[in-house]
Symmetry: D2
Subunit: 421 residues, 4 copies
């Protein structure tokens, strides 16, 4: 494969005088100004999975009470992404709607408002350390899955938005929607604030869970008022770039104008069906072997860039070094490296100082670019068969309840799962 970046001048500029290491190249400008100017905007990574591993988020409920409960942990993660080159600090408010918090059995030590406010303050504090922007985010709601009305669902978004407006975030993101209809509703609410709006679905090339194709989804989101459209979560970078390409083609064919973004998983998911990594048997506690390397990330950044995507970030599984890899791959286009690159030699150059000579011999681009990393798991396969229950909005199995699943309900599920295997 031919790669056409990382030209010599940039690499050389990382010598003794670290002049080329700059932060947040677009500092001072808003998201649309940056994108309109053709700049690359590097997003951040997924907080939920990173903080789960660190011990601050519970898998299952996936709620963001840590923003209020353990602010030092959330602040530190923001800082790592900032240092890695993120131009945007997303508020850690995933699933922070009251209905979700309540529904997921959260013990209500904090209200949704408290969590959302704390998350805004943390994002702003760190963003200001490096000229980054703050984005407030809303996601799909249990209310929608349970077939509540448009008004009910919009009221939930409105409640979250009020905090973002009060805290004066720089722009808004509607993300992680499996049904374009709910995303349209979110965009309409977000749009009413007058702030720039980005909207991403968690879908792949097959489209949303009602079968609406990616191109049609994108057109609908742009028409609803989104300035930036794309996908996030649920699929690996390769799949996400492919999906956004389909969106871009359709939007352009419709004579509309938009910017494009992708915030994929940091997990390889070649075996996914339309529901994405949720359906993989490894979700969420056995995904380790699928984690992308930094070199996989550089490839992603390049492919996304070539596809015309300019807002390039990540979601679940991303850690700071993944984001830094995006920033390093696109250093020529961005005019410099992120702060965190002071601790990373491009394409493994830092290994020139390794104790063992055969490790020093790995300090070269073609070595890492061509490596096919072994899993170390000879008893494991390379692909899995995803679950495929084939239910979505409106199905009884998806009606959300406040209570934890009962033992009887669980037993019924185990039986159903065993039968499907």
């Amino acid at each position: 494969m031919q790669r056409d970046v990382c030209t010599e001048p940039v690499l050389n500029s990382r010598g003794p005088g670290a002049a080329a290491i700059t932060m947040a190249p677009g500092a001072g400008k808003g998201i649309l100004a940056r994108l309109d100017a053709g700049e690359v905007v590097i997003g951040d990574g997924g907080f939920v999975f990173a903080l789960e591993k660190r011990g601050y988020v519970k898998a299952g409920p996936w709620t963001p009470e840590a923003a209020a409960e353990h602010p030092e942990a959330v602040r530190q993660l923001h800082r790592e992404f900032l240092r890695a080159g993120s131009d945007v600090m997303q508020t850690f408010t995933f699933y922070a709607s009251d209905d979700k918090l309540e529904n997921r059995g959260h013990t209500q030590r904090f209200t949704g408002q408290q969590i959302n406010e704390a998350a805004c303050d943390l994002a702003r504090e760190v963003a200001d350390e490096g000229g980054a922007l703050v984005a407030g985010g809303v996601s799909q709601t249990p209310a929608y899955l349970s077939c509540k009305s448009e008004d009910d669902v919009k009221a939930i978004f409105k409640k979250q938005i009020d905090v973002f407006v009060q805290k004066n975030v720089d722009f808004l993101i509607a993300e992680y929607f499996e049904h374009v209809e709910e995303a349209e509703w979110a965009v309409q609410v977000l749009k009413s604030t007058g702030k720039p709006v980005a909207a991403t679905l968690c879908i792949g090339p097959e489209g949303d869970l009602n079968g609406v194709r990616p191109g049609d989804c994108a057109v609908r989101l742009v028409k609803a008022g989104a300035h930036v459209v794309g996908v996030n979560c649920h699929f690996d970078p390769e799949t996400c770039v492919k999906t956004v390409k389909m969106m871009k083609e359709a939007v352009e064919k419709a004579g509309l104008k938009a910017h494009y973004m992708s915030q994929p998983l940091a997990y390889h998911t070649p075996d996914c069906n339309c529901q994405g990594f949720i359906d993989l048997p490894e979700f969420p506690f056995g995904l380790e072997p699928r984690v992308l390397t930094r070199w996989d990330m550089q490839k992603y950044a390049r492919e996304a860039y070539k596809a015309g995507i300019r807002y390039i970030g990540g979601c679940c599984g991303f850690e700071a070094y993944h984001v830094r890899a995006l920033a390093e791959e696109l250093a020529p286009e961005r005019g410099g490296l992120p702060a965190g690159s002071e601790k990373h030699g491009t394409w493994g150059a830092g290994l020139e100082m390794h104790t063992k000579p055969w490790v020093r011999a790995r300090a070269r681009r073609d070595y890492w670019e061509n490596l096919k990393p072994a899993s170390g798991r000879p008893l494991c396969p390379s692909m899995a068969t995803p679950d495929a229950w084939g239910v979505t909005k409106g199905h009884a199995d998806l009606m959300q309840q406040k209570e934890a699943t009962s033992q009887d309900q669980l037993k019924a599920l185990f039986d159903k799962a065993n039968k499907n295997q």
Copy 2:
């Protein structure tokens, strides 16, 4: 496979009243008192790899200047391990000897002493938040590989120890030694402080790089004065437990008495030769697919416990959730769960609250215990062929130099590596 723990009473005790979640069960007692009493001591994880991914350590030099440079990042990582159940905070002083810092091209913004002092302060600060112990650590030196004299090498250890004594750490660890001879020297220096001494080699069943068998190594370390012996780094948990078993048998056969510890990698390494993961082609930037899951860790904790190992920790690749898995597996023996378990349902129980019913169906032990996680990488193999240059202490290729490797030297290495492929 039969697993015999996590009895019902313990699991049930994690209900509404989180009474069973306790921290640092041995609080107030020293390391030897704990081990003598038969308690399980949970170690922490590797700082170098974790902080490399977060952007604070440079792969290649691998030096710990972050303790002085970015204390907030180091403090946060300590806190995560403490929360996960670690009973010991190891000072982040790996490779913090002056010869190493100088040798690795470190820009000398901080002296070795400054770094060591800062690392001690951070470890103590966090340890005190949860009744943990502080351990000061020394590792193998470039001086030894370059055939410096015993006196020269010991002087280096002495210089590091002085800081540990001044900062009054609770005990000392000599870790990451490839040659038992150098480890003996280190133990002798550490022993002179009067503090308890633990010593771990980074070896597997084939023994140290001079071919000294694990059993003989262990006997020599005990005779040199180590109270706790074992292995750390370089190999996966399965291999490390096997190696410590060989050590324990030999020590007991020699009529000696010791405690045993293992702090393995969090990477599966079934394909390693005697040099461990350094020789794997994926080291250090392509190890992702090899990372152990939390369930792999529970198996490790159980196997280590069965083998009579009571100091059970980790090294490179370990993150907080890996340590928490050790503490959860051994909760019955330890009498409770760590603080971090408030965000983790045992054996996936938290999934009972997941939105999707087929994910709720994964909330059970046999599901996770039997999962063979797919790599998502159909183009990659499951094992690699390790490098095998077969050189060690005294070989010209291993003479350490202050300067970064020159371009000519690198070219010679690349050619040699290509020829060996």
Copy 3:
């Protein structure tokens, strides 16, 4: 997966009196009579690959001179397929056109006519031993790839057909065509004999090498006069069944009527592009790990049957036990087992007599049906990246020449291949 065959009566009928073992259930009836009656017709396997392994065919030229040169080897292979349940003996005349024989450097010890005659005699001799039919086959020509005229290409087919008519084969097959246009020409020539005509392309779901979709291909072949249409070679059974389904849908939608056949590879090819297994790096000397098991074959037979395919056979890689597996899976529909089943217990039942008890424990259907067989090759991946030179009919690289490729030409090819890697 639910499997709904092999009902008890049939299995039981394989007891002491082997009454259920019958041969060639449709004996005496022609191919169309059998298919019109709804019978399942079992094809045979690929001779070229089987005889290459036995030492009678040379990979590269792939010509069938063995029919004249080593008739005992060809006769034996026919017998194995007959015994395994094949209802059709295809004459071993693949690539037996004079232009191909000459082009492939064949030393001309035998003319095309001699080979074709010998092949017909062998097929008839063995067919008569078991009531099977004889089918004469023609395949794509170098002349077509080199852009010869329709008349020239048809003349080549005509020359082959003359032998088949003279030897009075029971029906004709035009198989292994990459371009539907050439297949239409072949069908037109075959049709002129008044014998039943089957036509199979070596294409997958993406269609022929000019991008004509499978459905359109099938409609064109039926309109050209083929009674049976389908695919053979180039792809695995799963892909072939999928492709024939597309053909059947289009033929029915066009209001036409036909029978359907599939003769896939016995190699798993999930990683193929439109050119099929030719493009896999393992072709033709490293395909071993991809060979289907007999259980894979039973699954294929069932899926093909469910899809409405009634002429079910195989191509390259098939050996007698693969064909027998087809016949065993469809024994209920066919009313009995083939002769070769006297040496095979259904679903591993023969293991009941194995020496080792743990092997006897494998004598059950669910064991073999669920087995995920290991490759024994931890250094190898599960998928490959196919070559993709993207050239077809008319491209200079595909102009066929009589001479062996010259050293200069080979060097140019090696360089091109290395660059593409």
Copy 4:
């Protein structure tokens, strides 16, 4: 890896005048004369597995009645091996002792004597076509596993030998013994005929099923009178060569003299325990992905030769092209190529005549030597966990019975197997 054979002169000699293609270089000389002269003797491949696939042997009983029942099939297989370069035709008499035939439920259409006689005649007929030797073989007996006396067991061997003597085979092989004691008994009986005796155990580096190490086994066999010692079946070539090396070292250390032979599986078995491939979950109906390529075989031939093994053959899984690969790799040492090489270009040279240019680009040694063939099975692992029931001679589970296993016995086995998984 460096390979040092196939020098130019030999390769060139395969031009138009096929002078270099010769058969059976040692024609006319006995086995010991050939080995004493330092010649390489190429063995044949396993008949049981090859004929099972062709439909003439039933897996489970594994008995050789085909020699009498379907002589044309057995004759053809002999011819393929002869053509491929085999210098020895082993009589197809595996498990042809009366106790085995009776025990395995064989319907007694033929007596052991009839089968053994027919097998001798077939082997001699084909051997005479090409100057090959005929070897009569005996294998382990159910009687031994059931703890019959030395006299009883020896009487069984004697009965088989009588036929071999009467038919005047050239030498005798005692093969496929899991216990060295029974092999010694066999050697003693064979020795009494005055014919040269070879003896191979089906063991790996861990030794026989009583734990007798390979070196000790070899010394005992040589002392019992064997002229040639080694291993056959149960393990892959790599393991077998390693085991024979251990044998050779021990024999030489004991001051004894012998020749060495290996006849391994054609299946990769890196995951086997001491019982070999019998314990793999894929045995015997799912071994396809493990089959060695011809290039793997060339590597085996070279390694065996380097280890001092001069009788180099194969066992289960070997087909003619595998044997030919042995003969081609050792063509320089043997002074020519086998007859079958007229249909095979060395290192893929035949591909120079392939239709597609990118396949022609594979006509080179380094391509095939470095290929890591994909399995095409992304849902399958690369290694399996072998059964490990840990029972051997004398255990109740291994008492052999005449009757087929009863349904009750089977159910008990299934339950035991399920529990062990």
